[in-house]
């Protein structure tokens, strides 16, 4: 990037960050909650962008990592008293990472639509297991738990008011974004992009493509699990619905709407989708997916770069 573009980028970043920090102080309760939710779904979408946009592997199984991260957090919050935030994060990330390693081991041997179908089937396996092991997971009803306090032992402990929760989520999402951005610009990220462009050639150069793919899926799964933990903390419940493959489909929709391979695009896509859903559900009640689905189809056909790609082309004109 040139000096000037870097400057524009970091200015934009700071302005948006400042707006997001101030937002909970000025927004009414409903919209504050809504914004936090957008950030969480945005993190989930961003995590799958590593696969879709950078490695060129469309995962239809991100609901599994998201949902298991949620159930991992639930396990920690239900077994410790008082509930411990850091333990919830640890459990959620570990379970999501283990799930991702398991799924990656099998699914990365396949490419394109076969990868998509395999990840989808894996997420359905986890869905069925969670849905039917009622004694452990609460089955269809899911699990309810208390929200932990934001605490570091012997230092401080504050309760999660909506504003504190928003800042906590914002901090994690921003750190994840910076980390993922750094990763995509690292040599590892470059190899992923070269796998996307030409897998055979990448292998011929001497990269262990399979290992890179496995690590990519795990990385993506861990961040999806992180989003799951945040969602669990915000809503204080875990339900099998979040493991169902339709959630994965929505994540892919966020990516495509916002623009894949950009990291910010998916967050933008999530915001756009959720805002439109909010608007449409006022007119169409629960049938908001009819107009939303049509908009999505139109974007797939007419805007292959998503909203961000469209904005870029329009600005450069």
């Amino acid at each position: 990037m040139t000096e000037r573009r870097l400057f524009v980028y970091w200015t934009g970043f700071t302005v948006i960050l400042a707006l997001l920090i101030v937002a909970p102080l000025v927004l009414p309760e409903f919209w504050r909650r809504f914004l936090t939710e957008i950030l969480i779904w945005g993190l989930l979408a961003m995590s799958s962008d590593i696969l879709i946009g950078y490695a060129g592997m469309v995962s239809f199984g991100h609901s599994a990592f998201f949902g298991l991260g949620m159930y991992g957090a639930a396990a920690a919050l239900l077994t410790t008293n008082p509930p411990n935030l850091w333990l919830a994060l640890l459990y959620g990330l570990l379970i999501a990472a283990a799930t991702a390693a398991f799924v990656a081991y099998f699914s990365t041997r396949l490419r394109d639509i076969y990868f998509a179908i395999t990840t989808l089937i894996f997420s359905q396996i986890f869905y069925v297991i969670i849905f039917t092991s009622t004694s452990l997971t609460g089955g269809e009803n899911g699990l309810n738990f208390r929200r932990p306090a934001l605490a570091i032992p012997h230092l401080f402990s504050i309760r999660f008011t909506p504003a504190v929760l928003h800042w906590f989520v914002l901090a994690i999402v921003v750190l994840s974004y910076l980390l993922l951005r750094r990763i995509t610009q690292s040599p590892f990220g470059m190899v992923l992009q070269s796998i996307r462009e030409n897998e055979a050639r990448t292998r011929a150069i001497g990269y262990a493509v399979e290992r890179y793919k496995i690590v990519a899926v795990m990385l993506s799964g861990v961040f999806a699990g992180l989003a799951g933990v945040l969602y669990a903390i915000q809503n204080q419940f875990a339900a099998p619905d979040f493991v169902f493959f339709v959630v994965s489909g929505e994540v892919v929709i966020y990516n495509v709407i916002g623009g894949i391979g950009t990291l910010v695009g998916p967050i933008l896509g999530a915001a756009f989708f959720l805002l439109l859903r909010e608007a449409f559900s006022r007119f169409f009640t629960e049938f908001y997916l009819i107009p939303l689905g049509m908009i999505f189809i139109a974007i797939v056909i007419f805007l292959p770069g998503g909203l961000l790609g469209f904005a870029r082309r329009w600005l450069n004109r």
Binding site: I113, I121, V128, E286, I297
Partner: protein
């Protein structure tokens, strides 16, 4: 743990009956998948809408067979419309975009059905009501009739592909799209026809299956997943492979549900799919490619 022989036999018959319906759904999907490289996520929704059109026609005419034919034709037209509006612009792009587009279509159709027909399940009256004694069960003749009808429809499709002019065009397009075009085959229309035929078959299976369970807007989801499994396990685009895989998987699920709940029996077919992809990605029921 001993399983009585009669239960085993009943599950075998059940497995074959569901297997034939699944084969009917999957053969439409495999046609679309194998020939056009389109992963049709909306296939389950076409199945579901087919069942609904069947319900409406049945209410209007009172005749199940008319309902079957009308529903097949209506959904075939709908399929052609979907193909022309959403999939045709995507020709030449990454096949993955077809997953996205058809996923969007399935969201729209599923919610349309929910909006139009409500959440309460509708019932289709069985056209054949007799029963016969199967061990301790009154087994309805209709279930056997479904299997026979599904077999007849698939047989008809096979004859059409083998001897019909359009069928030959379809096979030529599968083998080499560019060459087929060069020989004067109207490839765009062949592709539209394939999508319409596949959709019509999904609708027919929806109407046939309707009497066994209620018709509701969610019924397509579980079927499209199973149909995908069948298509992959049977080998891409192989009609006979899909049929064999459909019966194989349905039998496995039927036997598995002797031990675990039907909800968990689904996992068996998931595992079969994953093992197939790992060890024989070309499909279980096709000859080894050289």
């Amino acid at each position: 743990m001993g399983i009585p022989l009669d239960q085993l036999l009943i599950q075998t018959i059940n497995g074959i009956v569901t297997g034939m319906i699944l084969a009917l759904v999957a053969s439409g999907l495999t046609l679309i998948f194998g020939i056009m490289d389109v992963v049709n996520f909306a296939h389950g929704e076409l199945f579901m809408l087919g069942a609904y059109v069947g319900v409406l026609t049945l209410a209007a005419t009172g005749n199940f067979w008319i309902a079957l034919v009308v529903s097949t034709l209506v959904i075939a037209l709908l399929g052609a419309f979907i193909y022309l509006t959403t999939l045709r612009p995507l020709i030449g792009r990454d096949p993955l975009t077809t997953i996205l587009a058809t996923f969007g279509v399935s969201l729209v159709l599923q919610n349309y059905a929910l909006w139009q027909f409500g959440p309460v399940a509708r019932k289709i009256q069985e056209p054949i009501t007799g029963h016969f004694q199967l061990f301790y069960l009154d087994y309805p003749y209709y279930r056997l009739a479904i299997a026979a009808l599904a077999a007849a429809i698939i047989g008809g499709l096979w004859l059409f592909l083998k001897f019909g002019t359009y069928g030959i065009w379809i096979r030529a397009t599968t083998q080499d799209r560019v060459m087929a075009q060069a020989m004067g085959i109207p490839v765009p229309w062949v592709l539209t026809a394939v999508f319409a035929i596949g959709s019509g078959m999904a609708a027919a299976s929806g109407v046939l299956f309707g009497p066994l369970v209620g018709v509701n807007s969610q019924m397509g989801t579980s079927w499209v997943l199973r149909a995908f499994i069948v298509v992959v396990v049977g080998g891409m685009g192989s009609l006979s492979g899909s049929i064999a895989a459909a019966i194989f998987i349905s039998l496995l699920e039927a036997y598995a549900s002797l031990w675990v709940s039907p909800a968990q029996a689904v996992i068996v077919s998931f595992v079969v799919l994953i093992l197939t992809l790992l060890f024989r990605p070309t499909g279980l029921f096709v000859p080894t490619p050289k």
